[in-house]
Amino acid sequence: MKQQIIVSGIGGQGALFLTRVIAQAAVDLDIPVMTSETHGMAQRGGTVISTIKVGPFASPLIRTGQADVALLLWEDNLGVHRPLVKDDGTLVINAEGAGPGLRIDASGIARKLGNAVLSNLVLLGCAVRHQALFCDQQACAAAIRKLAPARFVEQNLQAFYEGLNG
């Protein structure tokens, strides 16, 4: 089992949390995993990217054209991060209108749930629904339970299921 995933967004959108949930799912499935994250200045609303490599890898970074899956929380990043993804890789995009890739208005759904940041887990649900990731619904839900602060677990799961059920 080997999969290379990128999570792309802008600072403050919860890209890091989404990355950790996916990586935790790998840990729970007993698969080696490495991630890299953006910290510091770029986190202040700027474009951020994290990478997740699932399986026996040594480096956390992803080379051009090697990512199997891209989860984009900010549609405008497509131009910036598309080159990292394989030509036949899967794009899962938080977007309102029509366009390339699997699309879902994750922000709109999250807003209805009361917190726009939850768009990250709505997008995850969408990716799992399309079987884009190495992990299934149970693994993701378990990882969310483990990582979300106790009083937000239910809300987080709800966001995930909203995405999962389209």
Partner: protein, 609 residues
């Protein structure tokens, strides 16, 4: 938590765990990306320790180093933690410690930032160590960084020398599944033995100490545990080898695997780039005609190898600037092994640039400064507020604390010309003020520099995630301590004009700034200090007391774009089609500081129920 449990941990957390599991009891750090979470993780995990710990966010890196050093003199294991430019601040004690040595194990963790992602330079701590004659370890993954720490303390205690562990951004901020180990109970009562010949070494002692250092370095370079590791090839590429260290080694391993080349060529991983093993150097000279040396950021291994067939940074085959990303390594390897060239990718678009948060008090302060002194000179400094650049309110950013001395320098230069001088408005964060601003302020007052220093006090070290600052009166562990207020320090530095103002109140701030300007221009004017005080919007306590509100754009809007271009709140954007501004309700916190920016009063704040 069971001892063998596998956890997904960030490189910095792995290093924090490694320090605890090696019995380190005194840890002093100054926050700085990418090193910050090391200390943070020790604070979080401190219950795991078998005995008492002393953990501190020191006011700067020199002090952190000296605190850890003295603890080592008593026999305890200690660590000083900083980022690469922090080592510049700690350079003085760091260099001398190389000669004088340590007693209890001492490890200095210096996180480098090739790229650089979040730093003023991409300097290489390994080269600094070569200059300082300090052994340095270069891990290639979070797990390896952790695994190196116990042996690093053993090495430190065997030779009584400070040892540097040098992770880089991609290690510090990667996550990996790593096993937790047991934390030992050290039972090492502190005991300091005075040895003036060593601990006060005057020049008379130093040649002897330097000689002893040289001898130790020679022995350390031959330590079996720290010799480069060989993954042999199958002989299909005789006389050729790859040499790598740090995260670049990891990129290379994955790349060789993806290209189907794993196990076809001799591959060396260098664990300790300085002092480099002489037997390794000899072996490479004897056995190989061609070598590719991959290391970040400077040719530290390459210089020591001085191998005639080495391809690396010196000849320009390996890029000399920036991070050696997997793509960069791919291009270099393809050249070296005559492989198919990697696919060329067009220049990627630029993403969203970073910006001060919606509602950030710094934005309000910068805007008012700029409105009040449109022709001012604006030296600034390191922190979130560096982003004041976007607003045109930051003209220089040099290194921690430099803004006040630079501001004074600007004034002195203009003064020489006689006549009028521009208003110099220095901006400095509260944490930076304590770090290196105070001596600069004293100097500016002493030299009667007519400048305005605005201390942007948001009551936290926001850039690195909110570490406590001295005026909060809490320690690294959250224990109460004496709060060191800024105002008396400013007054004690001889400043006669001092005002405190909330930057959300732009009229009040404008008034205060004008008074400050009058002061610096008065007959016996000198430094004027304005404390711009409003908590960071990320501060949980500040969030709690905020009443829910949002800003709206009314039909008055003429779509002039002033609010977007001049104020740049990330919640504001211009809808070009409709020719009017829009506010993103998800991001706006209703601070209302943008209201005055609009020339036709089209922005209103409404309370949310």
């Amino acid at each position: 938590m069971s001892d063998t449990a596998i956890h997904l941990v960030m490189g910095n957390e792995a290093i924090g765990d490694g320090l605890l599991e090696a019995g380190c009891q005194v840890v002093a750090a100054y926050p700085g990306t990418p090193s910050t979470e090391i200390m943070q993780s020790i604070i979080t995990a401190k219950e795991r320790a078998g005995g008492p710990l002393h953990l501190e966010w020191s006011v700067n890196e020199k002090i952190a180093f000296e605190v850890a050093l003295a603890a080592s003199y008593t026999g305890k294991r200690s660590a000083a933690i900083m980022k690469q430019v922090g080592l510049n601040v700690a350079a003085d004690p760091f260099m001398r410690t190389a000669y004088l040595g340590t007693v209890g194990g001492m490890v200095t963790v210096v996180a480098d930032d090739p790229g650089p992602h979040s730093s003023q330079t991409e300097q290489d701590t390994r080269l600094f160590c070569l200059q300082g004659r300090v052994p340095v370890l270069d891990p290639s993954s979070p797990a390896e960084a952790k695994a190196m720490i116990g042996p690093a303390y053993a090495l430190s205690e065997k030779y009584r020398r400070n040892i540097v562990l040098r992770p880089t951004t991609r290690i510090s901020h990667s996550r990996q599944n790593v096993a937790l180990g047991a934390v030992p109970v050290m039972n090492r009562p502190s005991s300091f033995t005075p040895d003036p010949g060593r601990w006060c070494a005057t020049p008379a002692f130093l040649p002897g100490l330097h000689g002893a250092l040289n001898k130790d370095l020679e022995a350390i370079s031959r330590e079996p545990e720290w010799q480069p590791r060989l993954t042999p090839g199958d002989g299909s590429r005789p006389g050729t080898a790859l040499v790598a260290s740090g995260i670049v080694y990891a990129h290379l391993v994955d790349l060789l695997d993806e290209l189907g080349l794993a196990g076809t060529i001799d591959l060396y991983q260098v664990l300790m780039p300085y002092p480099l093993s002489p037997t390794f150097i000899e072996r490479l000279r004897a056995d190989y005609q061609r070598l590719l040396i991959l290391e970040e950021t400077y040719p530290v291994i390459e210089l020591q190898l001085a191998h005639p067939g080495a391809v690396g940074k010196q000849g320009g085959a390996v890029p000399r600037v920036g991070e050696l990303t997997p793509d960069a390594v791919h291009a270099v390897l393809a050249d070296f092994l005559h492989l198919a060239k990697p696919r060329q990718t067009g220049p990627a678009q630029r993403g969203q640039r970073p910006s001060l948060c919606p509602g950030c008090p710094h934005r309000a302060a910068f805007y008012t400064i700029k409105q009040t002194f449109p022709d001012g000179i604006y030296p600034s400094d390191i922190g979130c507020y560096t982003l004041g650049m976007n607003l045109g309110a930051v003209h220089t950013v040099h290194c921690m604390g430099a803004c006040i001395s630079q501001g004074a320098g600007f004034y002195q230069a203009y003064r020489l010309d006689g006549g009028d001088f521009p208003t110099v408005v220095v901006t400095i964060g509260d944490s930076t003020f304590f770090h290196a601003g105070i001596p600069a302020l004293i100097n500016a007052v002493l030299q009667r520099a007519r400048i305005i220093v605005v201390i942007l006090d948001n009551a936290t070290t926001a850039m690195t995630g909110g570490q406590p600052v001295p005026h909060l009166g809490v320690t690294a562990g959250g224990q109460p301590t004496t709060a060191i207020a800024i105002e008396p320090l400013v007054r004690a530095a001889g400043v006669e004009f001092l005002e405190v103002c909330d930057p959300y109140d732009s009229r009040a701030l404008t008034r205060v700034l004008k008074q400050a300007d009058a002061h610096i221009r008065s007959d016996d004017g000198s430094v004027a200090v304005v404390i711009s005080r409003h908590p960071c919007v990320m501060d949980p306590a500040a969030k709690k007391i905020r009443s829910p509100a949002t800003a709206i754009i009314t039909d008055e809007c003429i779509g002039c774009g002033t609010c977007v271009s001049e104020y740049e709140c990330p919640a504001l954007s211009l809808n070009e089609e409709e020719g009017r501004a829009v506010i993103d309700g998800d991001r706006c916190i209703g601070c209302g500081t943008c209201v005055d920016v609009c020339p036709v009063q089209a922005i209103e704040v409404k309370e949310l129920s």
